[in-house]
Symmetry: C2
Subunit: 131 residues, 2 copies
Amino acid sequence: MPKYMTKQRKILLEFLEKHADEELSARKIEDELCGSGVSISAVYRNLSDLEKEGKIRRISKSGTREVHYLYTDSHGCRDCLHLSCKKCGRTYHMDTDGAEKLIKILAQSDDFTIDKSDTVLYGVCGKCKNT
Amino acid sequence: MPKYMTKQRKILLEFLEKHADEELSARKIEDELCGSGVSISAVYRNLSDLEKEGKIRRISKSGTREVHYLYTDSHGCRDCLHLSCKKCGRTYHMDTDGAEKLIKILAQSDDFTIDKSDTVLYGVCGKCKNT
DNA sequence: CTAGTTGCAAAGAGTTTGCATGGCG
DNA sequence: CGCCATGCAAACTCTTTGCAACTAG
């Protein structure tokens, strides 16, 4: 959908790439980029374009009013299942073999075909488990 | 947190109970209840209370600006994994055995402890698969 | 050069809040 | 009767939009 690679879009993309595994609030993106000479409107318009292209996912955590954005076009993670740790906020890409098994189970027990690009599993990661 | 069972809260709870397996937008709840003599403020205040009590989950679908609410305190579904069909919008409770296997897989392959009450899996249900 | 993109400021949508009134227990 | 919850309207926050100026290709 976008035709030109503008300075602003480039800045946004670089920022997202650098924070590919974080669930960023719109606010945080604004705060970060509006210093670099990107206007709020440009941020929103580009985020919206990226979402339409399927490169970004919108997420709302229970308990917050904030919408978060997750960039899913890097590291070939477009086709990964995402795991999000409620404690540290980090996002992980689920192990491919595990994901295959998981998909198979859902198909068998519930006749349900999971859509990896729309699903985020919430829980606690190994690192935070013993905290 | 709520101390009194007011007429308004009762109306809201009955409505939610009746639509326990739907992801309701705030707008729809408003539209439906404000006819029955419940004010917008009461709707929001009660939804917020219910969320704090863990009886309701907020959800934002990709591609929409709307926040949706899912009532998870009925049918003892508090402890179920929820499956949401992107086509028909219905919500299902995952088969208990399947869920157990799924939890085990995540623990083994990714050392990740899933939180059932915070996770919704998106995909396509059996009924819609052949449509 | 020409159409897509930006910035600004104003408009909109959704949600929250203060305060007086009303109602549950 | 006392305190909690409601209703209303105003306040807020987040997001979108119109339009003139700018710029990538």
